[in-house]
Amino acid sequence: MKTLLATAITASLLAIPAYAESVKIGFVTTLTTGAAAIGEDMKNSVELAVEHLGGKAGDMDIEVIFEDDAFAPESGKQVTDKLVKQDDVDFVAGYIWSHVLLASRKSVLDADKFLISTNAGPSQIAGKLCDKNFFSTSWQNDQTPMAMGEVLNKMGVKSLYVMAPNYAAGKDMTAGVERTFEGEIVGKDLTKWGADAQLDFSAELAKAKASDADGLFVFYPGAAGGAFIKQYDQAGLKDTLPLYSVFTVDAISLPKLQEAGLESVLGSQFTQEWDPTLDNEANKKFVEGYKEAYGHYPSYYGAQSYDAIMLIASAVEKAGGVDDKDALRAALEEADFDSVRGDFKFGTNHLPVQDFYLREAVKDEDGVWTTKVVDTVYEDHVDSFASECSMD
């Protein structure tokens, strides 16, 4: 036993050459609670990105430390503090939830580290609270629902009932659709969110139905999305109250909806900045690699996380390490990497300036439920808060 242990130690010592410096990335996501499915998707994509990079950013090894935010701002901040202070990471990336990001951002930025959101995009952080060391590989929350609002106008929808969870992103999402939608909002419900989120929407759906709106707009990410679609289906609202959603029907919820046989979700449309069918080399490599490794389609959460690792690696390589923060920041701003979205560029507030597509839930050639692009809604869209951002 002792020899075995000794061999193992020697082997592990040999595996890490003493001279190889590493770039440390802390990655905060949700690995417990019902929202862990999203975290899993992001974690898988990060690991895939590291694998595709051969574990290297330039000549430095990539080391990723994953932490669980337990779907709560307070614990998210706690693990962020740990990453910054104990692990002394160079980058903190991840964050699914807007409220978790808002609670954690100060810890990272005060320590003069780089913060890269791979999903959450609360309005504050794009505008007044923007920072030279903050970057995003996702979007500002309002953008996707704004695109949906445009689509609704085109479809001639005149009145809308709105439902979203009661937290930072839920409020941004409803504000986003209200920003572009020209018809009337006839009712709105904000439901309890977090680890003990409300998942039974009977009362709200009954209200929505009674409102006689032309359509129902919802935002229910993660497990809540699947639950919502099921109840929408069970209530038989498909013909009387068409569903328009953002971040609700996706690679997280579709496999479960397929298992449960809820055919009615096929054909429903929603907006997004990425899709597995986007035609570019990086995306093909990502989607195929992901399907091969994990047996199902990746989600936009994964795509954005994959991009974040690629972005970091490109910047570290260009800046020749992580010591010169200014060079690193400049390299990040250039965003010179092969994004799964095709071209990738940052706006003045370090959020991507990008296209938004209309997607539809379909069956692929193997009969697996997924999404495809049906239209481009926005080209090179800049979020509404960029003008409020001034970096010094």
Partner: protein, 327 residues
Amino acid sequence: MTMLRGRGWITAIIMILLAVLPPIFVATGNAFWLDLATRLVILAIAAVSLNLILGYGGLVSFGHAALLGIGAYAVGIPAHHWLYGGGPEWLQTTSGWLQFPLAILAAALFALVTGAICLRTRGVYFIMITMAFAQMMYYLIVSIEEYGGDDGLVIDQRSELPFVDFSDPLQQYFFCFVSLVIVLLLVRMIVNSRFGMVLQGAKGNEERMRTLGYNVYAYRLTAYVISGAMCGFAGALLGNFTTFISPEMMDWQRSGELMFMVILGGASTTVGPVLGAVVFIVLEHLLSSLPEPLGVYWHLPFGLLLIIVVLFVRGGLTTLLTRRGDR
């Protein structure tokens, strides 16, 4: 030297470690361990305050986290108005001279009002009614959009006091540590006073105390308010430490954690809850930072430990450690 026999040596060891280790953490560049120590000391204050009514008064409060939250919001709300305006003018401040007394008074007031009602009940009903009031407070905060609701509130500016700089981690730590020492001495004084004797007597035999002419209800309410005030103070420290507060910290599960700290360390001693907080926080950290994929499942050993402690370690760790010395 009677102090150092039996439980005394535990007190001495813990307090010396708490005084000596943090500067070493800083000197060796382990800032995170200093953070851990700060959190630990603050929660220890809350646990000690809970123990005053739980251990000595026999009043099992399942809502103490609400008091912690009230204290934290008493720092957060003035700081919020100071930065973004709104609210009455006297509230727009980051001065600790306003925030700390506000935290103590608000928590004491909450304890007075709820305690007056809760103390009409006994046993498990008391456990449930204290939890009910904490849940009310939780949902009240959730409903106030201005202070972030469910999303919580970032404290952009810590409290300002002339003799301590809260943005310096070590100064902050020692302020918390000294507070803990004062609170411990205070609780010890209360427990050993005639007041404390009545409180403990009522725990054992309420009728007897009543026939002796004591107004047990008034004694208990006073203890409840003192405990609330201390916990509110701990909350103000916690708000300054985390610089982020959310209704989450008032959740019933947090109250359960505070209770666990008290029971783990030993409810019959002044210093027990401190030991409980130390073990709780250190264990929580060690288990949750186990290598993947074990870290994600850290609640499993933690839950088992909780069950085992309750089933087999009666009287808490303090009793366990001193069994030989004492008997």
